[in-house]
């Protein structure tokens, strides 16, 4: 028996192509969305949900969000080329054609509906497609380039994953599901504006009317603090509604106090030193809020 050895370049190329298609889905962003989906499933099940249901909901959730992100690469290829952060993206760099990125995104979206519909239920499938439509239609195509409120309303797309998780377990959407949606919805403005402060020049170069570009650094910092207050208030509503207990309440207050402390420092101090801290902590905050909900519900 003989073994064939492929030249290094030939064997590396398929991997590079796969890597580019994986990059189209923005896996790092999706990982946090899936934390909220899984968290909602554990809370809805008041414990550990069925393992296969969890697996397929994660797969379906990844496909839906990945599809939305791939379509976003197609639509935003003009402005991605003007932002230093995004010039290496597969479509802008010419490694994946725009048409293929669009087809890939649409295929992932359709596959997500099929996976969720067959292995979870059709409400979860419809919600995943709603999230995709909100991200592509409302945020990317409509609001992103036209209003300073783009991320406030567009953030609703990123808040859909907990609804998908909840619906996958229960088959319906009660108040608790909408409270989880709201936690992510009101978390989005302070999270994205902290990032937008850091990337202000990029957004200005691309002509995207993010808050720091339109209203300046000082107002953005004040808005981050104000929306952080609203976010912490909303994080307490699962307790106010009777859906969560003392453990979650103290966790939400402690996590929220750190967020507000960082947002207050950001508002008080000149420069962007605290913007990075606020942005990075916001990622941890959202994950830990959902972990606290899961532990409380168990």
């Amino acid at each position: 028996m003989t073994t064939r050895t492929l030249p290094a370049a030939a064997s590396a190329r398929p991997l590079a192509v796969v890597g580019d298609y994986v990059r189209l889905t923005k896996p790092r962003i999706i990982s946090l969305l899936l934390v909220t989906t899984a968290g909602a499933m554990f809370v809805a099940a008041s414990g550990v949900p069925d393992g296969w249901l969890l697996f397929w909901t994660m797969v379906g959730g990844y496909l839906a969000a990945g599809g939305a992100n791939a379509i976003n690469h197609y639509i935003d290829r003009d402005i991605d080329g003007r932002m230093s952060r995004t010039t290496a993206r597969p479509v802008v760099a010419g490694r994946v054609s725009p048409g293929r990125a669009l087809a890939f995104g649409v295929a992932l979206g359709a596959l997500s509906a099929l996976v969720l519909g067959v292995f979870a239920n059709w409400l979860a499938a419809a919600l995943a497609l709603l999230g995709l439509a909100l991200y592509v239609g409302v945020y990317t195509l409509w609001l992103k380039r036209t209003t300073v409120h783009n991320i406030v309303i567009g953030g609703s797309a990123g808040a859909v994953p907990p609804l998908v998780g909840w619906a996958a377990v229960t088959g319906d959407l009660g108040l608790s599901a909408w409270l989880l949606f709201a936690i992510v919805f009101y978390w989005t403005p302070p999270h994205f504006w902290a990032l937008a402060l850091i990337l202000e020049r990029d957004y200005a170069a691309a002509g995207v009317p993010m808050l720091p570009v339109v209203r300046g650094e000082a107002e953005t910092k004040r808005q981050i603090l104000l929306w952080s207050l609203v976010m912490v208030a909303v994080s307490l509503l699962p307790v106010a509604s009777g859906a969560a207990g003392a453990l979650y309440l103290w966790s939400a207050l402690a996590l929220g106090a750190v967020f507000l402390g960082l947002a207050a420092m950001l508002a008080r101090e000149p420069g962007l030193r605290w913007a990075r801290a606020t942005f990075h902590y916001s990622l941890l905050y959202l994950a830990l809020i959902f972990v606290a909900l899961v532990i409380d519900a168990a």
């Binding site: 107002e219 208030a233 307490l236 106010a240 003392a246």
Partner: protein, 63 residues
């Protein structure tokens, strides 16, 4: 005082002043030269999250 009431009072105490300030900033920062339809749409984007917050507070209190 029960845990639920404490959480609700804290939520209202945090949210109300913040929302009032957000609404005032939106009012002060509106583009007076924009077309009426555009101004109405911009106002809607401010009202939607505030209305959702009020609804969630009310529903949580009533639950």
């Amino acid at each position: 005082m029960t845990l639920r009431v404490l959480a609700l009072l804290l939520a209202v105490a945090l949210a109300v002043p913040a929302v009032v300030a957000i609404a005032r900033m939106a009012l002060a920062g509106r583009d007076r030269d924009a077309a009426p339809a555009r101004r109405r749409l911009e106002a809607l984007w401010v009202v939607v999250p505030i209305a959702l917050l009020v609804a969630l507070l009310a529903l949580s209190a009533a639950a």
